[in-house]
């Protein structure tokens, strides 16, 4: 690693130091203690100072999310309270499987409807056949 004391306006050593200390910079934003080499680098590096300003904005934006609440329907309260009742584990398991149960119900309902339809068609066909026999 190049020395912090290296002279000259080249950007390569600075880049290396910036990368070396980049994770520390992410901690420096909320006052985490820095090792002396990192501290001295940040005091003189414009790039890192610009990044530090970005981190500060980032932290303010993150903190502002604290006031947000996601919209959630109040059935969740009932689910929580049911789960807390004696035997609540049963309620919980029922809820956990409710999605798959509703899919199963739809599937069984579909089969039942199809079976009923097919049976109806058979009855109609047999009646028509009987009428034709009687007519002939």
């Amino acid at each position: 690693m190049p020395s912090e004391n290296s002279t000259g306006p080249t950007t390569a050593p600075l880049r290396t130091n910036c990368e070396t200390f980049s994770l520390q910079l992410a901690g420096a934003v909320d006052g985490e203690e820095l090792d002396p080499a990192a501290k001295s680098h940040f005091e003189t590096c414009l790039r890192c100072q610009a990044e530090l300003a970005q981190y500060k904005k980032l932290l303010r934006a993150l903190a502002s999310l604290r006031d947000q609440r996601l919209a959630v329907d109040d059935t969740l309260v009932n689910e929580i309270l049911l789960a807390l009742e004696p035997g609540g584990t049963v309620h919980r398991l029922q809820r956990l499987s409710s999605a798959s149960r509703s899919r199963k119900a739809a599937y069984i309902g579909g089969i039942a409807a199809a079976t009923a339809g097919a049976a109806g068609a058979l009855v109609i066909a047999s009646r028509l056949a009987a009428r034709q026999r009687l007519a002939s």
């Binding site: 950007t11 980049s22 994770l23 520390q24 992410a26 901690g27 934003v29 985490e32 414009l46 790039r47 610009a50 990044e51 970005q54 981190y55 904005k57 980032l58 932290l59 303010r60 934006a61 993150l62 903190a63 502002s64 999310l65 604290r66 006031d67 947000q68 609440r69 996601l70 919209a71 959630v72 969740l76 309260v77 689910e79 929580i80 309270l81 789960a83 807390l84 609540g88 919980r92 809820r95 956990l96 999605a99």
Partner: protein
């Protein structure tokens, strides 16, 4: 919620008053759900985490001494439950937060200029959070949104404090790079 009222409810719930606990649930469930969703990134999974959180809170309420706020205590339990949940879910499926959820601000514009500046950044931030791996997202959400201490985060996630800090720094770095993709070039141009 008023802190005196909360303390009364907690005291009553500790004595076995179910209505008091129910009231606490009603006051806090939206906040708990929001955190759970931010951690696990799925509505149904978040609901399961919330249920588990209140089951554990109910069982452990007598141990709650009131040193911390009730909300902080609940956040820690939620973090622990979500961590267990994510661990179980682990390799079974890819974790992604969807950003199509509805939001409600509990504390509307305290400073309109600040809020306006934050508008775009905040929506981009929510999207950037979805891109983080769950291990990084969990730490940055708990520390930078919910203000949990490094120590608390390490305890609830069952990792060392230094590991929690490294994850936090990596998460912040990724978020910054995502939100300011031109930052590097601009800084070098100075």
């Amino acid at each position: 919620m008023d802190s005196d009222r909360t303390n009364e409810l907690v005291a009553a719930a500790k004595e076995g008053d179910h209505r008091a606990f129910e009231e606490l649930v009603r006051q806090t469930y939206a906040d708990t759900y929001t955190l759970a969703y931010r951690l696990v990134g799925d509505e149904e999974d978040a609901r399961d985490v919330v249920q588990e959180t209140y089951l554990r809170a109910h069982k452990g309420l007598k141990k709650f001494r009131g040193d911390a706020q009730l909300s902080t205590w609940l956040h820690r339990i939620t973090a622990n439950c979500a961590n267990t949940f994510l661990g179980r879910r682990g390799r079974h499926r890819h974790d992604e937060l969807s950003d199509d959820f509805e939001l409600a601000d509990d504390v509307p514009d305290r400073d309109p200029v600040f809020q306006a500046d934050l508008g775009d950044l905040r929506s981009n931030l929510v999207a950037a959070l979805t891109e983080l791996p769950p291990k990084l997202r969990t730490v940055v959400v708990l520390r930078d949104i919910y203000d949990l201490s490094h120590d608390a985060i390490a305890t609830e996630l069952d990792i060392s404090e230094s590991a929690a800090k490294v994850r936090l720094h990596r998460a912040r770095k990724r978020l910054r790079e995502s939100l300011y993709p031109m930052g590097e070039e601009q800084a070098h141009a100075v």
